[in-house]
Subunit: 248 residues, 2 copies
DNA sequence: ACAAAAGTGTTCCGCCTACACCCATGC
DNA sequence: GCATGGGTGTAGGCGGAACACTTTTGT
């Protein structure tokens, strides 16, 4: 943070926030995309986002854009900064840097069309990774980096619970891990690990009866942020595990 | 990344990069600080950094400021984005957001005064954490977050080697862990872990004779970025471990 | 010979994996 | 009863912590 009165080459640039919002629905990882209504990249899909306003916090801008473009209330989501992307050529309109946010949330009631009437749609991440859908700008890079971060965070933090609607069962939580990692985990050992991790889960005492089988105990998120010991994706993989998602 | 032709409240803001550069010297963790030559915060110490120029990559701006303000060639450092700080009130001059970078490097030959003649000085991190030195702007927040990140990264990545000048001994590498974590580790088990981690260390075949004791084998960094299994700071703590650094 | 630091061997214990088994429900 | 998923028990094995021990140097 230097003041260089002499060399005043410092540009004033436009700053946007972009949101990479993941959820698990229908057994697959989905990301929320909007269809662009204007140039550049008109008609293409992109991550929701928009310009930061004068005097607005970055986090506040992220929450506002989330609400405006998708109708989602961000207070129930896990939201954190991913990275700032500042390639001078990343936006054809000129110098625009973007602060990308990673958001994890439960399957939303319905992604409402935004105030400015563009669709907001849940899209399987797999379709983008396999090249069947192209994203505007450098948004595919953001998605890949965010996906790797999310997978990593599941190992060392308790964010997986952010994907579940409270109260939730342990099987639902395990399903999150299985879908995001593309693995099948041993149900018994998974249970022991997460119930043993201090502050991860709080039993509600209630149970939910599924269509079939024994009713499952319901839990809420505990106060713990970090998960110790970590839940490594390399270990405890169940036999016959199909790779649901293409890695890298 | 939305174009909102209607509501053009989006501000064009100044963007800076700030550098949080850690090194280990004289048995303690140090951070590189400069003394500010102008208002605001004139005379106070701050992280090195400066404005991003027109058409300049963020990473390039970080490397340039590093060279200009401290005389350090960044190509030998580990450099990565930490986080972007965008509180509208963080700079009294107006809206300035900063992209903070975390850099880890070996003890530098000497922190040269920068081109604009301000001092650049290695300062013990402890002195800042204990409140004996106050940093300008929100730089203490950046330092605390970066320190936590560095400590975390030592567990799961191979960045600790970035603190060492190649070639280095295992004892030197262990010393890095001990200083950053503020613990004493068991030398034998540490050796086995790091030599066993695939791609962490490459033996050079050479040895270095210290002033006393058996000569130590010399290593270079291997290609591995991630460390598996992780080297957890909670475990393998040697008896009688003084906490060299105040946590949080 | 002794001190000091590098490096190896070995025991013990805890945890984690794998899998068998029991429980609670709907049909 | 039987199928299905929730939940518990347990044996075996792997790996890590602790620490004794050997090696290689300088004085």
């Amino acid at each position: 943070m230097t003041e260089r009165a002499s060399t005043r080459d410092h540009a004033r640039v436009a700053v946007t926030v972009d949101l990479l919002i993941f959820t698990v629905r229908q057994g697959a990882l989905h990301v929320l995309l909007i269809e662009r209504g204007h140039a550049p990249f008109e008609g293409q899909v992109a991550l929701p986002g928009g310009y930061v306003r004068t005097g607005e916090h970055l986090d506040a801008a992220a929450l506002r854009e989330l609400r405006e473009e998708t109708g989602i209330d961000g207070s129930r989501l896990h939201l954190e900064q991913l990275r700032t992307y500042g390639d001078p050529d990343r936006d054809p309109r000129g110098r625009v840097i973007t602060v990308a946010y990673l958001a994890l949330g439960p399957d939303m009631p319905a992604a409402q069309a935004g105030t400015d009437a563009r669709h907001a749609e849940w899209t399987p991440v797999k379709a983008i990774l396999e090249g069947r859908i192209n994203l505007a700008f450098d948004h595919e890079v953001i998605l890949r980096e965010g996906l790797e971060r999310a997978r990593f965070q599941l190992e060392y933090t308790t964010v997986a619970a952010a994907f579940c609607t409270e109260p939730f069962t342990i099987a639902e939580l395990r399903h999150i891990y299985e879908v995001v990692w593309g693995l099948t985990l041993d149900a018994s050992n998974f249970r022991r690990k997460v119930t043993g991790a201090h502050g991860f889960l709080i039993p509600t005492g209630k149970h939910r009866t599924q269509e079939i089988g024994r009713p499952a105990a319901l839990y809420r998120r505990g106060p713990a942020q970090l998960l110790s010991p970590p839940l490594l994706r390399s270990s405890d993989v169940h036999r016959s595990s199909p790779n649901l998602l293409v890695l890298h």
